[in-house]
Symmetry: C2
Subunit: 119 residues, 2 copies
Amino acid sequence: MKELVSRCPIEEVMQVLGGRWPTLLIYYLQDGTKRFSDLRRDNPTISHKMLALELRKLEEVGIVQRTEFGGYPLRVEYDLTPAGQRLVPLIDALGDWWDDVAGANEESRPAGTERAAMS
Amino acid sequence: MKELVSRCPIEEVMQVLGGRWPTLLIYYLQDGTKRFSDLRRDNPTISHKMLALELRKLEEVGIVQRTEFGGYPLRVEYDLTPAGQRLVPLIDALGDWWDDVAGANEESRPAGTERAAMS
DNA sequence: TCATGGTTACAAAAAGGTGCGTAATTTACC
DNA sequence: GGTAAATTACGCACCTTTTTGTAACCATGA
């Protein structure tokens, strides 16, 4: 039973942004409007179900805007809301921080674990 | 043990900071040096297993410094490393962002503002 | 028949909790 | 004097809960 609505905003953010996909989806949505299938192409390892779930979650908390166009095949577009866009630099800052830390760690770590930058 | 080598720093940060505990522990460690039992007191709902696991993880990535003092009963102290301290304002910024979003969501939301439909 | 954006059911995997064991020394007790 | 309990920071095994993956199904216009 989880009825613990946390007293801490940070705990709440992490409930939304933690996990593997949310920040990635936000990252890809920076480029502009994306459709369901676009996002799957951007991130081929996410399952159909997860993508639907995560998008719904992001929509519910107001990070993502879902726009449904009539007609068939159904067409749906996803964008970052203004709130979502305000989030982007914060996430980027975390990425930069991590690069810093990882860079420092690499000096004392055996080779073999390399990372490549995203395009 | 699984070694997920991701292409994206953000994905990696989230693997470390995502989840329920890491940010909370960092939050409490802002106050200064803490011992294992202090952290359990700060956060009574974490199990000793989880606390140990999370602390080790944070130590491994260089956010937390673990200092073991000899003697018995064993005594261990935890602090934020400089990198960990640099992380704090970033986490705080996320918290502020969330307060913003949550505040906006709670406020009046007249029907019809959200769903956009085009034909 | 295919494509799009879903949903649902079932299965597998990961995360998390509980409780016991451990170490070396002090203190508490018979 | 000898023994037992308590202390601190975990590790480990076992079990439950939560999350995620897989695959199948839906609607329908072209």
